[in-house]
């Protein structure tokens, strides 16, 4: 009885329509997510593409029909060409990324934990950072020729820089409060590095990993289209000569799949290693 009196008093001043025990409010958020909503946009694009190809609106010399691309992919796999090219590309990207990532991490650690290291290393790297890696291609071709070494080195250079920048920022950006804590807990320098600095820099390390992988692919595409006798980029530039848009699209799909797969893999790894962070977002 009492509650109903109160609610009727309120409703006289500002009428809240109450239904099923819920106060109705205009919902201003974007609402519930659509199931598989992320797939809607791409599917629509493919549909438009297919319709345009089927009706002849889209000239196959500009862009092949989706089913042509599926067929071409099948042919390229059956002949073994696609696998060969993918393997060549993967080898370059992986080798460049591994070497570059390792060098970048080691340099960042040396520069990040000692002032002498910082004085020696950080300057040159910052200068290199200002020069786009692709701009170094002419010089590197003169030095190393146009063989595999050149391709791996240029990918490694790009990967090293991205890795360095992120790891160095992670190492030097340790919260000062944790430094104080380590001091009052009488940590040795090694304990401080091991328990405070390195774990604290891990998020930066993973950002560096993901950026390095992305840029390894990017540089790979560039160098394979400049000068190569194998690889997905080579396959695409050959297709360009013969105006095979279907093969070019297959190459783009391969790059896309590998770029997406490597990033997803790293993200899963990051979630596992940095599991202490999950509690922040959940």
């Amino acid at each position: 009885m009492l509650t109903s009196t109160i609610s009727s008093t309120i409703s006289r001043t500002a009428p809240p329509p109450v239904a099923h025990g819920h106060v109705r409010r205009r919902r201003l958020g974007p609402g519930r997510p659509i199931p598989y909503g992320r797939a809607v946009g791409p599917l629509l694009l493919v549909t438009i593409w297919a319709v345009a190809s089927a009706t002849g609106v889209l000239d196959p010399r500009m862009l092949s029909a989706p089913w042509t691309i599926v067929g071409t992919t099948g042919d390229l796999i059956a002949s073994g060409d696609l696998q060969t090219h993918i393997l060549a590309s993967l080898q370059r990207a992986a080798l460049g990324f591994l070497i570059g990532g390792t060098v970048g991490t080691v340099l960042a650690i040396v520069a990040g934990i000692s002032r002498i290291g910082e004085a020696l290393i950080d300057g040159p790297i910052q200068i290199k950072r200002a020069i786009p890696t692709i701009g170094l291609i002419p010089l590197l071709i003169l030095w190393l020729g146009i063989g595999e070494t050149f391709k791996v080195v240029i990918i490694a250079l790009a990967a090293a820089i991205y890795m360095y920048v992120q790891v160095f920022a992670g190492l030097t950006g340790i919260d000062h409060r944790y430094v104080e804590l380590a001091e009052v807990q009488n940590y040795t320098r090694w304990e401080f590095l091991r328990h405070v600095v390195f774990p604290g820099a891990l998020p930066g390390f993973f950002v560096g990993l993901r950026l390095s992988v992305t840029f390894s692919w990017l540089i790979l595409i560039t160098v394979e289209q400049i000068n190569a006798l194998s690889g997905v980029g080579y396959m695409m530039s050959q297709a360009q000569l013969y105006a095979q848009t279907d093969v070019i699209v297959v190459g783009l799909l391969v790059y896309g799949v590998f770029g997406f797969a490597s990033d997803t893999l790293l993200r899963l790894l990051e979630r596992r290693v940095l599991s202490w962070r999950r509690t922040l977002t959940s």
């Binding site: 409060r177 804590l181 001091e183 009052v184 328990h195 405070v196 774990p199 202490w276 509690t279």
Partner: protein, 229 residues
Amino acid sequence: MAPHADQLTSAVEIRGLSRRFGEHVVLDALDLSITDGEFVALLGRSGSGKSTMLRALAGLDYDVTGDGELRIPDRVSVVFQDSRLLPWRRVLDNVILGNRAADGRTRGIEALAEVGLSGRERAWPNQLSGGEQQRVALARSLVGEPQLLLADEPFGALDALTRLKMHELLRDLCRRHRPAVLLVTHDVDEAIKLADRIVVLDAGRIALDVRPTQPDIRDVLLRALGVTA
């Protein structure tokens, strides 16, 4: 100075401690001693130098100019205003941080039990509430059996109810472990409730050195802090 400081051994001896930030004198030739097991609350307005003094005792003021004599025990622990737990180490690993004793883990588990957090050893710090995190920080500071516990407004960031519970806990822990305590606070009631002795700092000097059992202690302290009720 405390009247009985000469009879008992003192944990902390401060003589003529001065600290300056540029031209600004923060601590002005300060003398203070704390006897073994004595709980001293350090009150003062913002900028009175209380945090500077605690940091001087903790050895965290290497970039600050100043002089004076300091004598502190070997085993000193610090509790900060924030719990300062490493988010990437589990609760127990945070408690035994820097503890090199062979039975460190066992002691860590005992310390967690003492602050009422048994069973949370494997939790990540971010999974705990603010009050629980500060309890872990207390466990960490006590696990090394300190002779001196320095606490810089350790409950300042907690809500009023949690703070009351933490007062009880800190009092119990100090009764059991008997470290000398220097608690920096701006909370007059906290000082009265917890301390054996209350020191009020004003402009880098000791303005008042009293016992909380003194009559009208609250008014006396508030007056010394420049608050007229």
